[in-house]
Point group: C2
Chain length 152, copies 2
């Protein structure tokens, strides 16, 4: 496990990230793993890179991408002007699940949030992901909120 590293995603990681998003319980129905990448992913990747309050990250093992998540650093007025670190789109390669990669990736992500001065780390997870709930609760997250979505 010692050779897993975490870093900001680079354009060369795009296909691996899409593959991780698509190879997922819910992602299967809503992502597009075709090659060359759907231009919507390319546009999204560029928008993330252009925003210094976004950090798209990958976990790599021997240069292969085995995990991804996105961090958004969000300034806000509430809670005495607290910055929030928000984690979205967490995926670990099927072959590396339940191996501690997720925990290491979260420890790295939480450290990034601290380094950026965040007072809160937040995320939402689909009610249809009970394994994820146990994982977040083990890390100390409290499921105090309901996450609402409205599709436009």
């Amino acid at each position: 496990m010692t050779s897993i590293t975490f870093r900001q995603a680079q354009p060369a990681d795009l296909r691996a990230i899409i593959a991780l998003l698509a190879n997922d319980l819910l992602g299967r129905q809503r992502e597009d793993p075709s090659s060359p990448p759907n231009p919507r992913y390319v546009d999204a990747f560029d928008a993330i890179l252009a925003d210094r309050n976004q950090l798209l990250a990958v976990a790599t093992l021997d240069e292969a991408v085995i995990g991804t998540l996105q961090l958004s650093f969000i300034p806000g007025m509430a809670r005495l002007g607290a910055w929030r670190g928000q984690i979205e789109a967490v995926r670990i390669a099927e072959t590396h699940r339940s191996s501690g990669v997720g925990q290491q990736m979260f420890e790295w992500a939480i450290a990034q949030c601290k380094a950026r001065g965040c007072d809160i780390v937040q995320l939402t997870t689909d009610k249809a992901r009970p394994d994820a709930h146990r994982f977040y609760e083990r890390l100390g997250f409290v499921g105090s909120h309901i996450g609402y979505k409205l599709m436009l």
Copy 2:
């Protein structure tokens, strides 16, 4: 109701926004309504204004601020590179609750998200706010997720 307007917050609105955040079931315990404003709020306000993917908004009636919310426009890879509009820190002045201001403010906020090309509008709300849950569900939001927080 016809004279309510919605616009981006300006520095002159800072005290009114803090007062709205503090005069709230949960805000009472965690905000600071003192004057001059706690410098943490001033820093947060500046950070929000400096980020073109943040929109701190106020609702005004006859020039008085009667509501606020924050919109974050978040680029992401998941769901075919969907942009998300995220709504945080929604507050309506006590004297204007249950009067339709909230619904008008949300209609305005959702229109901003559409104008920015978002495919999803999302928010989390504390499980301790049952009135809010009914409000969001009436607007068509689906409470499909659990919102986890970790205080740093």
